[in-house]
Amino acid sequence: MSTLQIDFGHAKPRIVGIDLGTTNSLVAVMDLTGPRILSGIVPSVVSVTESGEVIAGAEAREMLITHPERTVYSVKRLMGRGVGDVQDELRLFPFHIVEGSESVLKLQLGDKVMTPPEVSAYILRKLKEDAEDVLGASVTQAVITVPAYFNDAQRQATKDAGRIAGLEVLRLVNEPTAAALAYGLDKRKEGLVAVYDLGGGTFDISILRLHDGIFEVLATNGDTHLGGDDIDNLLLNIALEDLQSEWGEDFSGNASLVQLLRRAVIQAKEALSFAPSATIELEYGPRKYQREIDVQLFNRLIEPIVERTLGPCRNCIKDAGITVEQINETVMVGGSTRIPLVRSAVERLFRKRPHTELNPDEVVALGAAVQAGILGGEVEDKLLLDVTPLSLGIETMGGLMSKLIHRNSTIPASETELFTTAVDGQTNVLIHVLQGERELVKDCRSLARFDLKDIDPMIAGMARIQVRFLIDANGILNVTAKDLRTGKEHSMDVKPSYGLTDDQVEAMILESYDKAEEDFKERQIREARVEADAIIGATEKAKEDEAYHALPDAERIAIDRAINELRLAYHSDDHLLIRDQIEKLNQATMALAEAIMNEAVGKALKGTNVND
């Protein structure tokens, strides 16, 4: 870290925009000139070291090869889901699920047990720290993007992850909508835009109307389990079959080899976007494996995956109440849209050459930063009107789902429903809230059960409790109940079907403070102290050198004074003061360092400032 720290003093705290992706994550911020990516791509990988330390990002990605059993990737696929939902993933991903993970998955990583929101929180914390390092200020508020087709539980899990990471999540924004914001930002765009977003693990399609600074989502559709990961798995299966026949062994249980092979497969996949053929190459001990894949074979393999994206596109056009000819532009988002077959399929369906000039890896984070700018008041002429991707309803007699808020309704959206008792003296009413498009409860996603309790005993049908279902601007459900007879708010118990309860999240926030969380200021002090330790240590060592004793008295006194002053500053909680004194000690020891260098004995003092 540079010793030059720009202190923003009492400047308004910056809200960052975060793309929390399946494969990679990014953080961006809104500047006067537009949105800007802060620091590099952070791989969405988390690992627990043998000493029990949790690491995230590029470092953790290396652990995928060396310690696959204590490392997790693509955790976004597990957000807001239960054990029953992820049986398919478990066949392909080396996740170790702990017994007793009914409503929230628990992953075993080394000797730690973590839920998906906690894992994601480590990725978010890394992004937060990266952003703080670049901005030179503490970051506590964020906009985080989610796939448009994420359901309530998946959104809530993402919000929980933010809270655990010490971030106030001011808004969840749908990824394709964020992309449209970045795309339409400085152009005076008007008209209908389709955003096709094929990422590492999810697929979204959204159709928006842009007019006069308003980005109005007309309809959205998608598949939260479709993406580049699926393509990797196809290639991986071929390679594993090859190995079985060539090397005579089934390696699918060898996590370390599978990760090496996965990396090789991804390289080949990426190369195939630019070359007519590519080779999957693996060296494992003395053995070598090579397999050439040409574009024809690759296209044949992935065609069913590309085809699976087209149905949601057609439904989305229909739901938007438009025809394909009316769409003015198509925007491509997500790394998988670099694949030529994907581009040609989209071009065929929308009858237009899609826009690919924006970096598909960055556009979502940039859009999130724009939304952060809207919330922060820096961007005043833009407004997003988004929709809920799935219908919301309640269970009625006979296991049927009765819809209250239809999909593609602009959010916030609300509906009220009157509930009463069915038998004399009944004191509670249970409401089962669901999300989905199907008629039967069993085909929809259970969100939560609300228990309207403590109803005064009375004749059946006399109670009048009005329940308000509100889907907020984040696409998350809020439920309140009012007793119409008393006009007072009616209490209820909430049992979420999937995900963490509020108490669990609170406990995790506390725990994260205990163990890993330290705020930006503490980190800066700690870093300054590490630097101070280094320079004091080096100076003390140099004092044993002959060159020190050869110095004039005044120089030696100046060095001792500088050390003492640094030691005094050391225990203050002002990192700038510590850094000032480090700089003074640096100055005071300049002549000494020079003398030692000249003598070419001992260790050069110059190398002691660890961060220069």
Partner: protein
């Protein structure tokens, strides 16, 4: 009527759609929660309530059918759920034809295609009938006109369901 209030409109059945949209966007700019992210929790809650009401109102009022249904409900008239008696015979024959096509009897197809055309025409008639009745009621609030609107809506809904069933069956079997 609160949905009209939310958009600053007099409760009328006939609405200028461009004006409605403009009101919706102007009010969204003013009230959207994005504008209140740094405000007090009371202001935030108020913004959320205003915007959700605005969204619900716009969604309901922009379509003539949902608008009329809302207007009737607010006027104390419930929509009927019975089949319109004048269509009973037609529906009986239609169901037979649907059964035949489901059973693989392609000769029923012609009859269904004719029914499809007839129902599409009925929907268009209902829509133009509605706009005439809207203008009439807005001019003079006559309870008889409101009853006629109710009958038209009921018939329209029923025909629209029939059309959906016919089209579904025609599509399923042409796809095979």
């Amino acid at each position: 009527m609160k949905f009209y209030d939310a958009l600053g409109l007099e409760p009328k059945l006939a609405i200028d759609l461009d004006d409605l949209k403009k009101r919706f966007y102007d009010r969204s700019r003013q009230w959207h929660p994005d504008r209140f992210s740094r405000s007090s929790s009371e202001e935030k809650q108020r913004s959320e309530e205003m915007t959700s009401m605005l969204n619900d109102a716009f969604r309901t009022l922009r379509e003539p059918v949902t608008r009329a249904e809302y207007f009737l409900r607010e006027s104390g008239l419930e929509l009927s759920k019975d089949a319109p008696p004048e269509l009973l015979e037609e529906v009986f024959e239609l169901n037979m034809a649907l059964e035949e096509l489901r059973g693989g009897d392609e000769s029923a197809r012609g009859q269904l295609v004719l029914a499809q055309e007839r129902f599409t025409g009925m929907l268009a008639d209902a829509d133009s009938g509605l706009s005439r009745l809207f203008a009439s009621y807005d001019g003079k609030a006559d309870a008889i006109v409101l009853e006629q609107i109710r009958a038209t809506l009921n018939r329209r809904k029923y025909v629209s369901n029939l059309l959906r069933d016919v089209e579904k069956e025609l599509n399923v079997h042409s796809a095979n």
